[in-house]
């Protein structure tokens, strides 16, 4: 599965990648932009991935900005420490809203 991860914190990224590989051993992490700017650059040069993990508080703003600029056609899973963005996340094509710290459910 071709996956893109938007995350600005180093440790959070490492943790998420590790968990993805545990669940989907054949996952391919296409890129890990840490800001909206980097993400926009990535989208301009690459086709739409199959799944996007998005931290909401990115280095230069909230990841909702990405949706205002380009059409995201694949499912999105939000990962954030903030519970109050859930409604906003619901309005875009998100399939899940994971709260940090990320933990595997039993």
């Amino acid at each position: 599965m071709r996956i893109l991860i938007l995350e600005d914190e180093e440790q959070a990224l490492l943790r998420l990648q590790k968990m993805i590989f545990k669940v989907i051993p054949d996952a391919v992490i296409l890129g890990t932009p840490s800001s909206i700017e980097e993400a926009m650059a990535w989208f301009q040069n690459n086709p739409m991935p199959e799944l996007i993990f998005m931290d909401i508080q990115l280095a230069d703003g909230t990841s909702f900005q990405v949706f205002n600029r380009i059409k995201i056609t694949c499912p999105v899973i939000f990962t954030t420490a903030y519970e109050n963005y859930a409604l906003q996340a619901f309005k875009v094509n998100s399939v899940d809203y994971l709260l940090k710290p990320l933990m595997k459910t039993m």
């Binding site: 440790q11 959070a12 590790k18 800001s35 280095a59 230069d60 420490a81 903030y82 709260l99 710290p101």
Partner: protein, 316 residues
């Protein structure tokens, strides 16, 4: 019209040679207070008791001086001349003096009253500022998101690098320990603030990695002898992280140095696309806090590259 101190009038004869008859001058006058003024030698009219006239203040009002002159002591036959004079009121008994006194006393009372209110307000204001700063710092930290994000980073270390994880836990607990201990105080030493900041930055650096670069160069001589309101440096660094992009491509550089009588906190500017809600509130509180502590101001500068805050160093 005579002024109120006047308690003596002298009558001179108009004709030449009249003054020679003065010993026989007989005059009498009765004041509005009923006291009799008597004529004496040399045409002087004064209060009936000669010994005390010097200190007597006559009652204000209209007087009529009756004068009879005689060369041979037959006063009854002599014509009476009337002289009218008025003794004016002492100025402190006049209505305008009462008016002004009342006004003056009222003004003084009002001034004292306002001064007192101002003092109370200022005291209350100091308390409020102190509370606000503590509240802001606590809100941000006890803010569960800081904890959640820290735990998230921690989880990763626990699995990959337990030794690093234990150091991170140590700093997390140190940070909260100091936060609770210092936030109630009005001032802490610069050394205490730097220790708290050290733990805070350790946690933040673990989260952001090389995207967050901090250098601190404080004159070690003043760490124990200078004071700072608790959490000021922590709030300033936190603001820098909150408002600016912190990414590997665009790292955030923060430097904290001493420059003569100032602590200079600078950070590179790379504002986020969306402004944070609470922007400027924390900084305003810091400025207000210093205003109540010292005459020297907290200075704020901004150019294309950097955001700079200069805090006055407070010595004992």
């Amino acid at each position: 019209m005579l002024n109120p101190q006047k308690n003596i009038v002298q009558h001179y004869g108009a004709e030449s040679g009249f003054s020679e008859l003065q010993p026989n001058l007989n005059s009498i006058t009765k004041g509005p207070d009923g006291k009799i003024w008597i004529g004496t030698e040399n045409g002087i009219a004064c209060l009936n008791t000669l010994s005390s006239f010097a200190s007597y203040r006559p009652v204000a009002g209209k007087y009529k001086l009756k004068v009879r002159a005689s060369a041979n002591n037959y006063f009854d036959a002599a014509p009476i001349a009337f002289y009218h004079f008025t003794i004016s009121k002492s100025f402190w008994t006049t209505w305008w003096f009462y008016g002004l006194s009342v006004l003056l006393i009222a003004t003084i009372l009002y001034w004292i009253f306002m001064q007192r209110i101002r003092t109370i307000k200022k005291e209350k204001h100091i308390e409020q500022e102190k509370f606000q700063l503590q509240y802001d710092a606590l809100k941000n930290q006890v803010n569960p998101h800081f904890l959640f994000n820290s735990f998230n980073a921690l989880l990763n270390f626990v699995e990959d690098d337990p030794k690093e994880a234990s150091i991170l836990i140590k700093h997390l607990s140190l940070f909260y320990r100091k936060l609770t201990a210092y936030s109630q105080k009005e001032l802490i030493t610069l050394e205490e603030e730097l220790e708290l900041l050290d733990s805070y930055l350790f946690i933040q650096k673990k989260r952001y990695g090389s995207a967050l670069q901090v250098s601190i160069d404080i004159d070690p001589g003043i760490k124990k002898t200078s004071w700072i309101p608790p959490l000021v440096l922590q709030l300033l660094t936190e603001n820098a992280v909150k408002h600016n992009t912190v990414s590997k491509d665009k790292p955030l550089y923060i430097s904290i140095i001493t420059d003569q009588d100032q602590i200079v906190v600078r950070n590179t500017i790379n504002y986020k696309m969306e402004k944070e809600e609470s922007e400027g509130v924390g900084l305003k509180n810091i400025k207000n806090r210093y205003k109540l502590l010292t005459d020297r101001e907290v200075k704020q500068e901004e150019n294309n590259m950097e955001f700079i805050i200069r805090l006055p160093i407070i010595y004992n």
